[in-house]
C-alpha cells in the first residue's frame, strides 16, 4: 500500500511540474526556425490541453472505473459553458460564480440523466446517454427551451455571448474580459524573451493548470478510496455484487454525477478562457472525442486520460498545420517519382486529413493495445528494465 501511495504522489508531482513548466517544455524550438511549427506553447493550445485533460479525467472516473461507456458526456461540457456565459450576462466578468454554477448545473443534469440511464447497462446505457446528449444538443442548437419559455436561453446556432445590452448587475468600469475577482484577466500573458526563444506565461493557462492538478488529486483519491474499489467491483461483476445484497445504483449514480461535474467544470473553463458558448460543443462527435482521448491514453489508469488529451490536442494542432509544400520539403531528398508518391501517401493523413490519422490510430490502439499509450509505455519499460514488472495497481482489464 505504501508503494501505491508513493507512486501516486510521484505521479501527482510529475503532473504538477509538467503543468508548471509547460510553457518551456512545449516551446523547445527557437522562434522562426524550421522546427518552430512543432512548438505548441501558445496560450490557447495550452489551455485546451488542460481543459480537455480535466474533461478526460472526469470521463475516466466513469468509464475507467465502472466500464460504463457514456457517449453523451459532451452535453455536460456544453451545460457548463452556457452557465458561465449566463453569469457573465447577469453579473459581471468574474469567472468564479460562473464556474460554481457550471459545476452545480452540470451536476443536476448528470443526476437526472444518470438516474434514467443507469437503469440499464452495457450497450443500452451507451445508447441512452447518446440519446440524451443528442436531445440536449437539439434543444440547445435550436434554443427549443428558450422558445418554449419565450426568451433566449442558448441563442441557437449563433451561440451564446455577452452583449452590451445585457444587465450585468455587478459590472465595474474596468472589466472587459473574464477575470478572477479582479486579480488577473484570463487573457493577460507575460512573454519572456530568451535569446531566440520566446515563452508565453498566460494567467488563464495557469488557472486551468492549477485546477487540473487539483482535479487530478481528487481523482487519485477516488481511485484509492473504498468507493473507487466498489466501482471497480461493479466493473468486474455487477451481478455478483447484486447477489451479495448490495445495491450498486447509488454508487453508480454518484460517480456519474462526479464525472458530469468534471465535464461541466471543463466546459466552464472553456467559456472562461473565451467568453462564448456554442451548441457544437455538445454534439456527439465531441462526446466521441473524449472517449478517444481516454482510450488512447489508457482507460482505467490515472495518468492515461491526461496523456491522451495532450496527445490528441498536440497532434491535432501539429498535423493540421502541415501542408503540401512542407511535405515536399521533407521528402525533397528522394527522387522525384518517389517524392511524389510519398507526398501522395502522407497527404491523406495531414492537414484536413488529421481525423483520418486519428481514426486509424484509434483503431490500432483498440486492436493491439487496449490499455492505451500508458500500457504501451509500460511494455517498453518492461523490455528495457528486464526486471519483474512492478505491481501496477492502476491497471485493470478492458471495460465490459
Amino acid at each position: 500500500m505504501i508503494n501505491t501511495k508513493i507512486h501516486d504522489m510521484r505521479m501527482l508531482v510529475i503532473v504538477a511540474i509538467l503543468a508548471l513548466l509547460a510553457p518551456f517544455i512545449l516551446n523547445p524550438f527557437p522562434e522562426g526556425s524550421a522546427l518552430a511549427q512543432f512548438n505548441a506553447g501558445y496560450p490557447d493550445l495550452m489551455q485546451r490541453f488542460m481543459i480537455f485533460g480535466i474533461f478526460a479525467i472526469g470521463f475516466n472516473l466513469l468509464f475507467g472505473l465502472t466500464g460504463y461507456l457514456s457517449f453523451g458526456h459532451a452535453a455536460f461540457l456544453g451545460v457548463g459553458s452556457y452557465s458561465v456565459v449566463w453569469m457573465y450576462k447577469l453579473l459581471d466578468y468574474n469567472i468564479a460564480p460562473g464556474l460554481i454554477l457550471a459545476v452545480v448545473v452540470s451536476g443536476v443534469f448528470a443526476l437526472m440523466i444518470g438516474y434514467v440511464s443507469l437503469r440499464r447497462s452495457g450497450i443500452y446505457f451507451s445508447i441512452l446517454t447518446l440519446a440524451f446528449a443528442q436531445m440536449m444538443f437539439a434543444i440547445a442548437y435550436s434554443d427549443l427551451l428558450g422558445r418554449f419559455m419565450g426568451t433566449t436561453l442558448t441563442n441557437g446556432e449563433t451561440g451564446l455571448q455577452v452583449y452590451t445590452s445585457d444587465p450585468q448587475y455587478l459590472i465595474n468600469d474596468w472589466e472587459a474580459a473574464p477575470h478572477l475577482f479582479g486579480l488577473f484577466e484570463m487573457r493577460s500573458t507575460y512573454t519572456l524573451e530568451l535569446g531566440a526563444w520566446s515563452f508565453d506565461f498566460n494567467a488563464g493557462y495557469y488557472l486551468c493548470a492549477l485546477i487540473l492538478v487539483l482535479m487530478f488529486y481528487i481523482s487519485i483519491r477516488i481511485f484509492r478510496s473504498p468507493f473507487g474499489l466498489m466501482l471497480r467491483a461493479v466493473k468486474s461483476n455487477q451481478t455478483r455484487m447484486n447477489y451479495t445484497g448490495l445495491n450498486t445504483r447509488p454508487y453508480m449514480l454518484a460517480v456519474f454525477v462526479i464525472s458530469g461535474m468534471y465535464a461541466g467544470l471543463a466546459g466552464g473553463l472553456m467559456a472562461s478562457m473565451d467568453p462564448l458558448a456554442g451548441a457544437e460543443r455538445m454534439q456527439w462527435t465531441a462526446s466521441g472525442e473524449v472517449v478517444l482521448m481516454t482510450i488512447l491514453g489508457g482507460a482505467g489508469t490515472l495518468i492515461g486520460p491526461v496523456v491522451g488529451a495532450g496527445f490528441i490536442k498536440y497532434f491535432e494542432n501539429i498535423f493540421s498545420k502541415i501542408n503540401d509544400s512542407v511535405l515536399h520539403g521533407w521528402f525533397g531528398f528522394l527522387p522525384d517519382s518517389l517524392e511524389n508518391a510519398a507526398v501522395w501517401v502522407v497527404e491523406h493523413f495531414v492537414g484536413s486529413g488529421w481525423h483520418l490519422t486519428l481514426g486509424v490510430l484509434f483503431m490500432l490502439i483498440v486492436i493491439f493495445l487496449p490499455g492505451g499509450l500508458v500500457e504501451g509505455g509500460q511494455r517498453v519499460m518492461k523490455v528495457f528494465s528486464k526486471k519483474k514488472p512492478e505491481e501496477e495497481a492502476t491497471q485493470s482489464k478492458p471495460a465490459e
Binding site: G122, I123, H355, G359, F362
Partner: protein, 343 residues
Amino acid sequence: MDAIILQILNGLDKGSAYALIALGLTLIFGTLGVVNFAHGALFMIGAFCAVTLSKILTLSYITIDESQTDFLGNPLQVKTPYIEGWFGPEMGASIIDWAVPLAILFSIPIMIAIGFIMERGLIKHFYKRPHADQILVTFGLAIVMQEIIKHYYGANPIPTPAPDVFKGSFDFGTMLGFDPNVIIYPYWRLIYFAFSALIVGAVFAFLQFTTFGMVVRAGMADRETVGLLGINIDKRFTIMFGIAAAVAGLAGVMYAPINSPNYHMGMDFLVLSFVVVVVGGMGSLPGAVAAGFLLGILESFASMNVIKDIFPGIDQIVIYLVAIVILLTRPRGLMGRKGVMED
C-alpha cells in the same frame, strides 16, 4: 384527415431508411453479437456508390466544335460523355439519367465485398472482446471510412438526381377522393418506400424459406449447438454480414436523390438507427422494421405546424423522448426477446 394521410406518407420515406439501416444493424447484432457503429458509414458508402457511378458514366472527352465559339471567341469545346459516344447520344443520355437505379447493381458487389473484408479482417477478432471494445473499434472504423470519402469527394453534398421520369409528384388525394393537390407525394419517395418494402420482404423471405436462412436462424438462437452439429456457422454469419452491409448500401444508394450525399450523412442516420433498434428490441428483426417506420411517421407528425405551435421544435427531439420512455417502461423494447444483451 388529409393532413394526417400526408404526414403518414411523409414519414414513410425516412422511416424506410431507418428501417433498412436498423434491419442491417439487427442482422449483425443477432448473428454475430457485434454492435456495429460503422453501419452508418456503410449507408453513406452506398450513397457514394451512386455518386461514383454517375461520375463514371459522365466521364467525358473533349472535342472542338469549329462552328461555334465560346464567349472569348475561341472555338467551343464540347464535352461528350464516352458513353454517349459508344451508345449514341440518346441511349447514352438515358443511361446517364438512370445512374441511380443502375447504381443498385453496381453497389451490391461492392457492399458485399466491403462487408466481407470488414468481418474477416476486423470484426472476427472482436467476438470475444467486450461490447465496449466492439463499439470503439467500429467507431474508429466509421471515422476512417468517413474521412476517406471526405478526402476524395470533398465535404460538400453532391446532388445526385433521380431519373427524369420520377421527377414529378403523385397526386394521392384524387385517388382517395380529396381535392387535387392536397395530398401530393414525390414519385421517388414512393419508389423508395416500395423498394425498401421489397428489400425487407426479401430478407425475411430469405431467412424464412431457405435452408440457408433456417440454419442462420438456428445459429441466432443457439450458436453453439448448431456448431456442434457440424455446420460451419461462422461462414454463414460472414455471409449474413455481407448481406447486412448490402442492405445498408442499397438504402444509401436509393436515398441519394432524396438528400444529396455528404460524408457525414451516415453518422446522422446511425444515431437515430440505434435508437430505432433499441426501441424495436435488440435482436428482433420485425421489431427493428416496425420501429423504423413508427419513429419515421412519428417524426413527421411532430413536424406538423399544429403541434409545433404548442411545443416548438418537438420534431427534433420526439424520437429521443419516445426512446427514453420506451426503454424505461419496456426495457427490452417493443419486440425484444428475453436474454438478448442482458449481461
